[in-house]
């Protein structure tokens, strides 16, 4: 197996250098002029079709020096909580622990666990409890954070959290199948995280 490895690796390197595709941050939103000309010959009265990229704003390119602010896009399935907001730092609850993200952070994809996400802007700190999701940190200091459910801490009812925690701890003890155990475990984790969020 490994005898072929060097050949495959060198093949992929040469293939890369011939079909060098630019990152979407580097290509300006150009329309392919040869396509447009061919289109006009065939259908001169119709506008050439638009492509999705012509509707999108090009992403900011990777700066050569570290920018001073982090641009955060925090989205939920039903709302866009923060869109292109420039902040100093965000702390996200990654599965590997609380991760602080500053401008110029190494590009990362982080899976989030239920926990607190805080957005720091000057002296302003805004906290959300995030149920789960992902955070994509790009090289150009743009952070895309997506979550299914994110609520400000004030909206959480402490008594319900306690009740839920007790209920799921009990379910975990009495669970039989793997699936039941997993569900009970998830319940315990989420409720303990909410508990910790409210008290911490």
């Amino acid at each position: 197996m490994f005898r072929q490895a060097s050949r495959l690796v060198s093949r992929s390197i040469t293939a890369k250098s011939t079909t060098n595709r630019a990152f979407s941050t580097e290509v300006p939103s150009t329309i392919d002029s040869s396509f447009v000309e061919a289109w006009k010959k065939v259908a001169p009265n119709m506008d050439p079709p638009q492509t999705p990229s012509s509707f999108m704003k090009p992403r900011p390119s990777t700066a050569s020096s570290i920018p001073t602010k982090l641009t955060v896009n925090f989205v939920l399935p039903y709302a866009s909580e923060l869109s292109g907001k420039e902040v100093d730092m965000v702390i996200i609850p990654a599965t590997t622990g609380q991760m602080g993200v500053l401008p110029g952070h190494v590009p990362t994809i982080a899976e989030l666990k239920p926990g607190i996400m805080s957005v720091h802007e000057g002296t302003d700190i805004k906290k959300y409890f995030v149920s789960s999701g992902f955070a994509f940190l790009h090289a150009n200091s743009v952070a895309d954070i997506i979550a299914v459910e994110a609520v400000p801490l004030e909206n959480i009812d402490a008594s319900q959290v306690q009740k839920g925690l007790a209920e799921f701890t009990q379910k975990l003890a009495s669970a039989t199948t793997d699936l039941e155990k997993a569900e009970a475990q998830i319940g315990v984790e989420v409720h303990s995280a909410m508990n910790a969020a409210l008290s911490g």
């Binding site: 149920s131 789960s132 997993a182 998830i186």
Partner: protein, 70 residues
């Protein structure tokens, strides 16, 4: 070079990430204070119709909905 990376407990129990994520979201929604809870429960409503295909034709669809009669 086998990928025996540690799998999360829910994956080991046969659950997919989407199921896990939806369960987490539901639990959080259930612990909200009053006006927010009602709005949130609205978001959980699901409405879809499912039909199995046999011999190139769809059979009678089954409707699964939180708002029956719609």
């Amino acid at each position: 070079m086998a990928s025996t990376a540690a799998v999360p407990f829910w994956r080991a129990a046969g659950m997919t990430y989407i199921t896990y994520s939806n369960i987490c979201a539901n639990l959080v929604r259930n612990c909200l204070k009053e006006p927010f809870k009602a709005e949130a429960l609205n978001r959980e409503k699901v409405h879809f119709s499912l039909s199995k295909w046999a011999g190139g034709k769809p059979e009678k669809p089954t409707l699964r909905s939180d708002t029956p009669g719609v």
